[in-house]
């Protein structure tokens, strides 16, 4: 698996992403600077890491979404290439138009840094094939703007097309939109593109891959990607 991790000024989770990718795939990812205009030849997967690109100026991810490298990412996605945006990476994907909707300030205005419970809604995607359908997993969240919102028609389309891949759930495994930690519409934590090749999610699977640190629930996401690419 040839992966590339994008680095914007203000990214701060790029090494966590790179470490998770290397640990699971055995191959070191290329680190690609935002001002570059091309991805390394043969790139299978592009990862947009978490952080505070451009200091969150204007809107989270707004300026990074217009960086020179993003045209190459758009072309890669249009070819069916895999793209994974985590946290600030998800915000960048929304701002760039690769995913619909937008992430706004958490409903209760607080930065949330804790573990979240998520339901894996489907396992027939390149990102989740190593999870059981409906599995409840724990990933950490660390964000101030993770409140997913979109107009009613977009939300309906996402639901009808089964494009909500990760949803925040309560300890009993059920979704509760009134109590969801950041106010996200339909308890949405992560969505995929129409062709299922672009995933954006607020929680951090890359931080739960090492038993030394705690749970390893995030590992299967990276194993899924390795598996999907081996098959291809």
């Amino acid at each position: 698996m040839k992966s590339a991790v994008l680095v914007f000024p203000g990214s701060n989770r790029e090494r966590d992403a790179a470490r998770a990718l290397e640990r699971v795939s055995g191959v070191k990812p290329a680190m690609v600077w935002h001002a570059d205009t091309a991805l390394p030849a043969g790139t299978d997967l592009v990862v947009l890491p978490g952080g505070f690109s451009y200091g969150d100026y204007l809107r989270c991810g707004a300026i990074a979404a217009r960086a020179p490298i993003m045209d190459a990412v758009r072309a890669h996605a249009a070819r069916g290439g895999l793209v994974l945006g985590i946290c600030n990476g998800f915000q960048i994907l929304c701002e760039s138009g690769l995913l619909p909707g937008v992430l706004v300030r958490n409903a209760r205005l607080r930065f949330i840094c804790r573990e979240a419970l998520l339901k894996v809604e489907r396992n027939d995607t390149p990102f989740t094939r190593r999870y059981a359908r409906g599995a409840i997993v724990r990933y950490p969240v660390a964000h101030g703007e993770g409140n997913y919102t979109a107009d009613a028609a977009t939300l309906k389309r996402l639901e009808d097309e089964g494009r909500v891949l990760f949803r925040y759930v309560m300890p009993d495994g059920r979704r509760d939109d009134a109590q969801v930690l950041n106010g996200a519409a339909n308890s949405i934590a992560g969505i995929v593109s129409e062709k299922l090749n672009v995933l954006g999610l607020m929680p951090h699977p890359e931080n739960h891959v090492d038993p030394l640190v705690g749970p390893t629930d995030g590992r299967a996401l990276f194993e899924s990607l390795v598996g999907a690419l081996e098959k291809a």
């Binding site: 217009r66 409903a107 205005l109």
Partner: protein, 80 residues
């Protein structure tokens, strides 16, 4: 010429920051405020002195970067 661009949240979008400011005004005892919504102001200096040209350029700037039209609307004021 000078211009001012105002970017505000669409009325259907919840504004938690505006709500917090509204609550703070209430707790300060400022009377008669029924609602607050927060937005952004951009003061822009344009190289052109042609109002039509300036407006077209700023509209493009809003669509491309200054506003996220999923949740925001914008208004352009040419100051002269």
């Amino acid at each position: 010429m000078k211009a001012r661009v105002l970017v505000t949240l669409k009325s259907a979008v919840l504004d938690p920051q505006g709500k917090a400011i509204e609550g703070a005004l209430r707790s300060l005892g400022v009377p008669g405020v029924s609602s607050v919504r927060q937005g952004k102001v951009f003061d822009v200096e344009m190289e052109t002195s042609d109002p039509a040209k300036a407006e077209a350029t700023l509209k493009d700037a809003c669509e491309k970067l200054l506003a996220n039209t999923v949740i925001e609307t914008y208004r352009i004021e040419l100051v002269g």
